[in-house]
Symmetry: C2
């Protein structure tokens, strides 16, 4: 028997045929469209599902269930996409729409929640009881596992740690608040911080790196810092400081076994985890008496979404 | 049958004989001492327990269990006071010590957790499923109820929302970090903010209020603001802004049904809840689509500790 996991993104909708052990044995991907009443996201999800079944040379009788990871606010109890910014959607009863065609359990959840669950079941979170998963990407997302279950808050609207203010009155955030963690710890924030530092230091190697890449990216400061550029190192240190402030906040609130970092920036590996683990050990509340918290890089990379969505099926059947 | 609830504080240890419906029918209080190997906190807890039994004209055969609310870090699973600042204590196996004398279930938990549970079972939190309770006192404490159960984090070391940084690099906090919520939203923080404003405005009514009271207190700015003093109003507005920043953070993370405010400052009632509810409605993530969150004053006042400690007994027997 197999699971189908689907990872909905702003650019593409990726599906995978997943075994019980978390191996992806077949894949199918379609480009994300602009959806309206005539052609809805459910139509593309059907293309992905049918494509995955065909690629795996199998049919619905071999499928335990279908799981979908979706950006934005998702009502997982009712199977509704409440709203999403990046792919403009509002109140889409996507589970009911798919159930008309597929007579298997269908689940949907927020994409960061899915990634957290994927890491918990198949990745770096395996063996822990409580984890906090943080994606450092275009935005800052979070997924929280307590006692082996996704913690979602009322009507699945919680776990939005990226919108925790860490700098009162600071940088404006898309959510309407000022000083959100996301406005300091996302890739977009790092790019802003990198550009500001480059403007002040025309001799920084970051200019060379940006020219070579054709743009300022989330890598610019990290690469230049590794080459010994002092201004770049300052950008990296300050950026990691901001990540750490949010991580220690979450540590004090949840005191999980481990915090896992995913998203584009997590590719920096030990450049992130070494200073962040040090900060965690020093600053988490009552460090002398209370249990320590591991800071680790998530391990599933691009497949976290598909695997996490597939893991939704058992996560829900358990309760 | 009765419960015994004990509220350990820096000044006194208060005990109550509590009915199933949360009525306190007898009380006994002793002064908090400095404890050492010869005279431990368990000795004073015994005085309180025996005093409560005597005051209630009853004995242990009528007691379902004993609950204790203790400031600081408490290992509730093992029944150990891990450490406490205000009453200097380290690694005291207080439950085992009491069990030698009382053959009934004995539970201990952090005082803010107990107050949260008390409000949930007997007070303003009745009827909700998930609540966050915040005490605005000398410090800022928090207690979190998820699905009707205390959420404590690993080894009961979580729920320290007062040490969430809301101003990166801001005011120093006792915990070693800078910019903690506690350093902006506690009574001590309000007094600091009040004094700073008074220094800048010698004509403010706050000087008159402080002289009348003999000191600058948590009430100074609130009282002067009600008399129309503009500088005092600015102090109050800014202080409420800081409280609100932390509350909206907790709303985005937990998305509970309600947030309850306790502690000394909560006596300001609607002066707090009206602006904070407004801020919550406007700023909680995805307010347009997501469920609203009530901001309310906790209702049990000084008895929250005793009642919450008593409520520990059933909370634990349930699981």
């Amino acid at each position: 028997m197999y699971y189908i996991g689907i990872d909905v993104g702003g650019m593409s909708i990726k599906g995978g045929l997943v075994t019980e052990n978390g191996a992806i044995v077949a894949r199918h991907t379609v480009e994300t469209q602009r959806y309206d009443e005539n052609y809805g996201i459910a139509d593309d999800l059907r293309k992905v599902i049918d494509g995955v079944l065909a690629a795996g040379n199998t049919d619905l009788s071999q499928i335990v269930g279908i799981g979908i990871g979706q950006p934005g606010s998702v009502d997982s109890e009712r199977g509704i996409i409440r709203y999403s910014n990046n792919i403009p959607l509002e109140n889409i009863p996507v589970v009911a729409q798919l159930k008309q065609y597929y007579d298997v359990p269908v689940y949907i959840n927020n994409d960061a929640n899915c990634a957290a669950l994927g890491e918990y079941v198949f990745g770096a979170g395996k063996g822990y009881r409580d984890i906090v998963f943080v994606t450092l990407g275009t935005g800052v997302g979070s997924g929280i596992i307590i006692d082996g279950k996704l913690f979602e808050g009322r009507e699945c609207a919680g776990a939005e740690a990226g919108h925790m203010v860490i700098v009162c009155g600071g940088e404006p955030c898309n959510c309407g608040r000022r000083g959100c963690w996301e406005a300091y710890a996302s890739v977009s924030a790092l790019i802003r911080q990198t550009k500001a530092a480059m403007e002040k230091d025309p001799s920084s190697l970051m200019h060379e790196e940006a020219a070579a890449e054709g743009k300022v990216s989330g890598k610019t400061a990290f690469v230049a810092a590794k080459r010994g550029d002092r201004t770049a190192q300052e950008v990296v240190d300050k950026y990691i400081y901001y990540i750490g402030e949010g991580l220690v906040n979450l540590a004090d609130i949840f005191r999980p076994d481990a915090i896992l970092l995913g998203g584009a920036i997590s590719k920096e590996g030990e450049s992130l985890t070494v200073p962040l683990q040090k900060k965690m050990n020093a600053e988490a509340f009552g460090s002398k008496f209370n249990p320590g918290i591991a800071v680790k890089i998530a391990s599933l990379r691009n497949d976290a979404g598909i695997l996490g969505a597939a893991a939704l099926i058992n996560a829900y059947q358990r309760s």
